[in-house]
């Protein structure tokens, strides 16, 4: 090969000036595949095995084996963005089906084929709000219960605009309509609410929240996820303009916070949507074919005038989400969502019967999680629970949060017994 190139050595092919050659070593030893696997396995075994009653934005659900086996087919795993649609029809169709799933769940006309996660999707919603608002405004309203990771990401996304992020108060875990009405005005560009909230409360007044947003011409951005959306009010029916959230509740097991940014919106904002869109077209023989479309919105064409800087997205996770949803079907999705209400509320009742615990702390219906008040130190209780093999969230000295999404009924029974021992 060197002869064909006309070079004497591989080193000669590198046109790197003397001064910047790296002559040292990294000191990373090469390992066999077997050694590497053993190294990682042994290291991860240092993690404690705990039954996780954890949620607050990242949810573990059982993922059917079909998803792993089919999504791990190497055609899906080892292809890249569908710049050549003629040899990418299968992935494009799967992403089109993912978009269709979100359209059905939200009632909005358009869903993109992924953002990174719920927090970045929220950030993108804010920049969309800024672009589509006819009159200028400066305020973005978010609930005071918003997760720090989401609020902070949102603030980074709007750092290049004139937008300011402010919180509005909640009451009993959901939007305080009276206070919100007082706070909202024409300077508000975007109003964000979540259903369910980060503490699992189901918002009882979503339509009223939507009306408040539209009365001040603010974009109503609703945070949710595909399982909750299978049962709870349809976003389009409560006036949502954009739906964001973590779609990987379907398709991904617990993954240390890795997610899939759901992003759906109204057709009128089509040209301002961030991220990739798969559309239908025809090939040269007039047969239906899929392709990435409206790419003039995107960074590789529009550069600094693009609707977003996103390039690499979470396409493979979207594939997994579509597969999991298809495995459940509409009956399975609705049943899973109902289960999330029934089990969360039943666990709250059982905890409430124990000495030293009040659950839930708010007068709301709950979806998969809730906050409980404890008489002893919450931190001490959580530590004692860890010793018995269970993990819960500690919110402050008096409050813990429990989520049932990923646990079995037997594990819930074990948890109730354990917390009964440590909470009194």
């Amino acid at each position: 090969m060197l002869e064909a190139i006309g070079a004497d050595s591989v080193d000669d092919l590198f046109d790197i000036p003397e001064g910047v050659w790296f002559d040292d070593e990294f000191g990373i030893p090469a390992r066999s595949e077997r050694e590497t696997r053993a190294l990682i396995r042994k290291t991860l075994e240092k993690n404690d095995t705990l039954v996780e009653l954890l949620g607050r934005g990242h949810y573990g659900y059982y993922v059917p084996s079909l998803v792993d086996h089919l999504a791990d087919r190497s055609e899906y795993l080892t292809s890249y963005t569908q710049y050549q649609p003629e040899t990418s029809q299968g992935f494009l169709q799967a992403l089109f089906e993912y978009q269709s799933l979100l359209v059905e769940l939200t009632g909005l006309e358009i869903a993109n084929c992924s953002m990174y996660d719920a927090a970045t999707a929220l950030g993108e919603a804010a920049t969309l709000a800024e672009r589509v608002r006819e009159t200028s405004g400066h305020r973005v309203l978010v609930p005071d219960t918003i997760l720090e990771g989401r609020r902070s990401t949102l603030e980074n996304y709007v750092s290049g605009t004139d937008l300011e992020v402010e919180t509005y108060p909640t009451w009993e875990g959901t939007v305080d309509l009276v206070d919100l009405e007082r706070q909202i005005d024409e300077d508000v560009v975007m109003l964000y609410a979540e259903n369910p909230t980060v503490s699992g409360a189901i918002e009882p007044n979503l339509s009223e929240v939507g009306s408040l947003a539209s009365s001040s011409d603010a974009l109503f951005v609703l945070g949710s996820d595909p399982i909750a959306l299978s049962l709870l009010q349809r976003p389009v029916d409560v006036g949502a303009d954009v739906v964001v959230g973590d779609a990987s509740v379907l398709g991904l097991p617990t993954s240390y916070g890795m997610g899939l940014g759901l992003f759906a919106t109204r057709e009128s904002y089509l040209r301002q949507v961030p991220g990739r869109l798969v559309g239908v077209s025809e090939d040269d023989q007039d047969r239906r074919a899929f392709t990435l479309t409206l790419q003039t919105r995107e960074q590789h064409i529009r550069r600094e005038r693009a609707t977003s800087n996103i390039c690499t997205n979470q396409a493979w996770v979207a594939l997994r989400t579509a597969m999991h949803a298809a495995m459940l079907g509409p009956d399975g999705l609705v049943d899973l969502a109902k289960r999330d209400v029934v089990r969360a509320e039943s666990l709250a009742e059982r905890l409430d019967e124990l000495d030293g615990i009040t659950a839930p702390v708010d007068d709301r219906r709950h979806f998969r999680e809730f906050v409980a008040q404890v008489e002893d130190s919450a931190r001490a209780i959580a530590r004692a629970l860890e010793e018995r093999g269970y993990a819960v969230h500690v919110l402050d000295d008096d409050h813990i949060q429990c989520c049932i999404s990923g646990v079995t009924e037997a594990e819930i029974d074990g948890f109730v017994a354990a917390i009964g021992e440590v909470a009194r």
């Binding site: 092919l13 090469a30 390992r31 290291t43 292809s79 990418s88 029809q89 709870l232 240390y256 559309g279």
Partner: protein, 489 residues
Amino acid sequence: MSDNASNGEKSRVEDAYYDQARYVRNGHYEPLLSEKDQTQVTIHDDDSPLPGHLTRDTLELPGLSEPELARHYTRLSQMIYGIDTGPYPLGSCTMKYNPKFTEDVAALESGAVHPGRSPETIQGTLELLYRLQGYLAQIGGMDAVTLQPPAGAAGEFVGIRVANAYHEHNDEGHRDEVIIPESAHGTNFATAALGGYNVVSLPSNDEGRVDLEALEAALSEQTAALMLTNPNTLGLFERDITEIAEMVHDVGGLLYYDGANLNALLGRARPGDMGFDVMHYNVHKTFATPHGGGGPGAGPVGVVDELAPFLPAPRVREAEDGYELFDPEQTIGHVHGYQGNWLVLIKAFAYIARLGDEGLLDASAKAVLNANYLASQIDYDVPYGPFHHEFVASAGEQDAADVAKRMLDFGVHPPTTKWPEIVSEALMTEPTEVESKETLDLLASAFRRASASDAETLETAPNRTAAGRIDQTSAARNPRLSWHALEDE
């Protein structure tokens, strides 16, 4: 068809190879899930745990059995070209083979932990992340690394936000310009704009590198940063990098390294040693994590000591008794809800740990050797050199997009086309280190057969793929983005 078929023996081998690609069209498409079944579920008050005003009324989606779905997704996969199908020399994307064992380590249940776990109970996860931070710092010549950004563009955004925080901290918040070479990745421009910066576009000199005079003219007290890819998108090393760094630093700006092309330099040169202050790594490129049809990737960011206090929160550090999370003193906060794409990061760790110094050095050597060999075997002109891991050929009088479609017929993935614009009808080609000489010869033959094709053949290509040439205009003019939109037709 007007292919100049080479000698009989070789073309038989090639045809057998092309057939393996299995993209011979069969006139049959896999129906949409919604065309196979639509089941409507009604949510009744009497069997719902929630009152009707809190629920939706109906949900209509396909309801299919597991075997039906297994076939659906298998058939769809057969209409996708991936690295495991054949060579994928998509320039700037570093489509290298993804070692299978990395899937096995990512699937370990002991790693499937929730981010809300107390750090004491996930010491294994934190140790791997800490060690990966260390590996990346070493490889890039950087002092501190965050693993949070979920993709390259997100890494760029962290870089821009860190630069902003640094300047604000030094009472230099007036710096509102980011300088970017014209030939840079589109994400650089979009990221600078997202961060609120004015983009100053920098022309290249006749050799395809940064024009120092133009740079001098562009630099000022308004300069927040210069974003640079090295080797640049033409595959050329920016030989004046030390001088460029000095010029940028002299006006108080920061030098940002776009890590898209780091594969060319592994073990041979480090951005930190060249004077870069902040960089991102594309682990889905350089460290072989699968591209997954467009993502997920990961875009960790490395910085010099002076910028470490501004990195996103939290980071991992070694504590007296294991590992802990901490928030850097003047952190820019979060750019992701949690800590990025764990399933990607663990595969990158596995790849680096497997290769070690030796394997990483070998990767850059072969990547550069392969690109140079392939370029020597094709008919198209390559106007700029000496290039490293990728080269940009010109299709000359032909339309580069047509050439790409024609190459699909030969069972290979074509290069990136029509970019960078500095080369007319650009074919940006990056074969990566994983291809053998035989595969490179097949690729070269696909290039040669495309270059020998007449205009009509080019315009009507491809002919052997699952779909024929797809009409992009109609897709954009009449957007149909869900199966609901098709029903309305």
